[in-house]
Symmetry: C2
Subunit: 330 residues, 2 copies
């Protein structure tokens, strides 16, 4: 299986007209009038950002989902993407073909779920871990991008979905001893692992985000880390209430089975949630809740924007807790 | 040296306003009216696309140059880029900082030479070879992109610059035995090696290309390979004259020191030239030569577009030569 075969057999069906049948050196995109382009590029390395040896659909979906999550946080809808894949040399011809077929299926799944196309990219072999990178193009109406730096004094801080499930799912996937001692039910373990394996980019909320939010980031590196980024970029302080960080029933149960505060801190700094962390004026709170309810998305108030700088986390007993680890530094 | 330090110390000075100070999840680009976007993404792997252990300015320049060459072939000027770097884990903190400083200097050199900015990207560590990827955005006036598929019957086929110098430069860099037996002068060896190390994207010719050319590709995988791509994409046949493939004096001398035809074939299939291979109606021949002369660029007629399909190479004695290797398949 050589580069041209991979392109012709597996990638060609995924290509939009912008990709010029993958026959050219570059893609051609004519931006519609009145649209700003949002661009994001994330790289995943085998054994760091996805599990070793997982060369198929799950990894392809993860690559697109984490990039889509960046677009969602900016209020943007995806338009297309460029893809680079470095396939490990240790894969023999037949395994490589199987992996490529499965990987392309994962790309197809996400493309059709979120309605965007492949524009181009390249393929190489690597004598090392599989390394994949996608550059996504998204569109927002001119001037409507939601920035990290837009938080305003008095804003409410919100989180979408549940925090920490993905982290516990990674512990399940890695058969981590901590979690084995806890002995989750098979339903809980399955639920967590799926949360880790299949992050859901919150693209269904982008219209509301553009309407109501002043600032947003997606939670890739943990709630604390992203909140600190928003606070710093906005030259303000964020106060978070640990007791308000939204957890699933399963994760709530896990927290209560140990030192609740310590475990909630761990889940809030772990990352890989790919939920939205956003700030909005309090006058929009009802509208935000209604809009989220309409699409079946949980949204939770977890803090507020105050004067000052940095991050303050209020613990379970109402006292500030020191944050020793803002997030996971890849 | 962690991700945030690399970004703040070395990348921040390279960022355009579109990069939002690298403080956001994504970049924001407002395309000017009347412009099409040209997008290209190329990945380089240590030991495959650049020499092992070369983590500094040369490699950074190579990464941008090979992507810029793709834009040049489409008649586009660069606007900005997203960059992903996967730094090898074996580099200790101090070497890593040195490499990062040097790498960023290479980026700065190319950015200022061709007038474009960094928009964003990401950084990871890898337990394997350094792997770097850039996505370049270029602009052309609406509808003016030069495609691979535009060749027309009767077009002249042209090549810019000299072919094969980069290949011989790679042989010098690798201390290849073939070349050692030939014993080039130190000037020749230096000239070849520089040609390999510092490909020059032919951006100075893009206006002429848009004016006169029907089809173009940049020569990354060898003259034969790229000519075949143009022929196939255009549903026509290309006939190339081996004796016309432009060589530097040094490379010409090397060819004459062995089997000239075999050596010319080798240089024409080797790749890494990053010259332009383009087709244009014969009525534009004078204008093309004048335009090239004005910017000090050598351009040479090397063939023609005929009826049929595929590629025909006419050898030194006027007879067709079988092409066994269209190019280097990475």
């Amino acid at each position: 299986m050589k580069e041209f075969d991979w392109i012709k057999s597996f990638l060609a069906p995924l290509v939009g007209k912008e990709g010029l049948n993958l026959e050219d050196d570059a893609a051609l995109y004519t931006p519609p009038a009145g649209q700003d382009l949002i661009l994001t590029k994330d790289t995943l390395v085998e054994g760091v950002h996805f599990l070793e040896g997982e060369y198929g659909a799950d990894t392809a979906q993860r690559l697109l989902a984490v990039n889509l999550s960046d677009l969602a946080a900016k209020g943007a809808r995806p338009v297309g993407y460029l893809l680079s894949t470095a396939w490990p040399k240790h894969l023999n011809a037949s395994s490589l073909t199987d992996c490529m077929r499965d990987f392309a299926q994962g790309l197809a799944n996400i493309q059709s779920a979120y309605n965007f196309k492949l524009f181009g990219g390249d393929t190489v072999r690597i004598d090392g871990p599989m390394t994949i990178s996608a550059t996504l193009l998204g569109g927002v109406p001119s001037g409507a991008m939601v920035r990290r730096s837009g938080a305003e004094l008095g804003d409410i801080v919100w989180a979408s979905g549940n925090i920490g499930d993905a982290h516990l799912g990674l512990m399940v996937a890695l058969q981590n001893d901590d979690l084995k001692a806890y002995m989750p039910s098979s339903e809980e373990a399955h639920y967590w692992e799926e949360s880790f394996r299949f992050p859901v980019p919150r693209l269904s909320f982008v219209d509301s985000l553009r309407l109501y939010a002043n600032a947003c980031a997606d939670i890739s590196d943990g709630v604390f880390s992203e909140a600190l980024h928003i606070a710093n970029a906005s030259n303000l302080r964020i106060e978070l209430f640990l007791s308000c960080v939204p957890l699933s029933e399963a994760s709530q149960k896990w927290c209560l089975a140990g030192d609740e505060e310590e475990r909630r801190m761990r889940l809030s700094s772990a990352g890989d949630d790919y939920e939205l962390l956003f700030t909005a004026p309090s006058k929009h709170s009802h509208a935000i809740q209604d809009a989220a309810k309409a699409i079946g998305l949980r949204v939770t108030k977890i803090g507020r924007v105050t004067e000052g700088s940095g991050l303050n986390c209020v613990g379970m007993n109402g006292q500030p807790v020191a944050i020793t680890k803002h997030g996971y530094s890849h």
